[in-house]
Amino acid sequence: MANGAVAEAVNPAAAVGVTRRRDAWWVQPLVVFLALSGFVVYATWAAFQGKNYRYTGGGANYLSPFYSPELVGNPHYSWFGGRPGWWPGWLVFSPALLILPFPAFFRLTCYYYRGAYYKAFWADPPSCTVKEPRSHYRGESAFPLILQNVHRYFLYIAILFIADLAYDAWTSYWFINPSTGQAHVGMGIGSLVLTINVLLLAGYTFGCHSMRHLCGGRINKLSECPMRSRIYGCVSSLNSRHMAWAWPSLVFVAFSDLYVRLCCMGVLTDWRIF
């Protein structure tokens, strides 16, 4: 068939980025590009610090989400003790390096982010009806992007992280009295930060498209399973605002790390509410 006849007739030799759109179509991909790049730069920097990730001042116990769970690290808190013997000598020792790849791959393979970064980083397309730079295209039908289909496995891991971060949030409400050594309930700004963090991450994780599929989307006669049907309804309602969960949860997880870090460094004082 005479494919492309109109494009050729209407818009001969259109160059990359050409469109007849009048709106500022480049704003959205640019914002996505800057926000994601900014996050990657901050998260990488924070992950390589290897310190200032657990705030224990004033009897508090706030753990940065980038470093949670602390598998190795401070032997007093970590699951498996201090720096392990197998840690490569050339690599900075930081517990976050064992943790961050999992949420990173969860977000990287997320359906929402995929669509967003294909546009912002690959210009594939730069925006709707805007001319692309490449003529060859295989999308997610071939290697490497066919690997995006692994997403649900990162979801399983992400759910474990939600449980872990919920535990951290719970821990942040317990303060050690320095004179008695007893733990008592309290609340600092850090407790609120870690709580909001896990709530936002849970809203993002439980609205995942793979979650929606697994909890009921794959069944055509869902009414026969009332429990799953209800769960599917809840997940679908989170899923319909998946993007609106994706961004705040991303920004806030970085903010939570920053908050704990600045408290550890003595730049911020954690304000105790009670």
């Binding site: 068939m1 005479a2 494919n3 492309g4 006849a5 109109v6 494009a7 007739a9 209407v10 818009n11 001969p12 469109t19 007849r20 759109r21 009048r22 709106d23 359906y111 995929r114 669509g115 294909y118 546009k119 594939d124 397309p125 709707c128 009806t129 001319k131 692309e132 003529s135 295209y137 295989r138 999308g139 997610e140 039908s141 071939a142 992007l145 066919i146 289909n149 692994v150 997403h151 649900r152 498209h209 793979s210 929606r212 599929h213 697994l214 989307g217 794959r218 069944i219 055509n220 006669k221 869902l222 009414s223 026969e224 049907s229 899923n239 319909s240 998946h242």
Partner: protein
Amino acid sequence: MSSTATFKIWRGDANGGEFRDYQARVDEGMVVLDAVHQIQAEQAPDMAVRWNCKAGKCGSCSSEINGMPKLMCMTRLSDLPLDQPVTVEPMHTFPIIKDLVTDVAWNYRAKKMIKPFSPRPPDAPDGTWRVAQADIERIQEFRKCIECFLCQNVCHVLREHHLEDKFIGPRLLTFTAALEMHPVDIEDRLYDLRKLDGIGYCNITKCCTKVCPEEIHITDNAIIPLKERVVDRFFDPVTRLMRAITGDGKK
């Protein structure tokens, strides 16, 4: 009170063409199709434009207005910046016939490749089926489609890369979703979705959803759920194993 506005309308055929400027009177409540009709009636009687209902329901008047795929009959002039000329051109993805009219026949040919509705044996002796309202509701959204093909037009897999031989496009994936998720249907279209319909070519960039005049959540509710079903069948070792053990069909 009426004023005038300039419309740059593409005039031509497969051999080429150009934008021509026309002035049209603008009255309250007018849509782009009204202006095009006025120009056709008063200045350009040979201008080809396809339309039928002028109510956003027949899907005939698809075009690109100021660079965005839209229905001419549903685009109000009051929503456009009339201090600049309004460009109106045919959909870019399909072969041109004349002026604003394109040949969308490929969509109908591709649709024939999709395995049709095939119901399970009737539930009742009178040859009828029993379906829960909740189960059918999920696919009602897809049935709102008016086949305007704006989504097919905007999809970069077809528009930029012309992979019509490998990818059926968002409209037809939505059509497949309506069949595949139907509580009475027993056909299996997952192999076709991956191998013939090319669902993997969609990179979920959501332009189709953005332009759909029926506001169907094409990407979130049709394409991604189908992609997940394809993952079940072809990529997830656990669901593949379960299938092998239970011999479970898809439904």
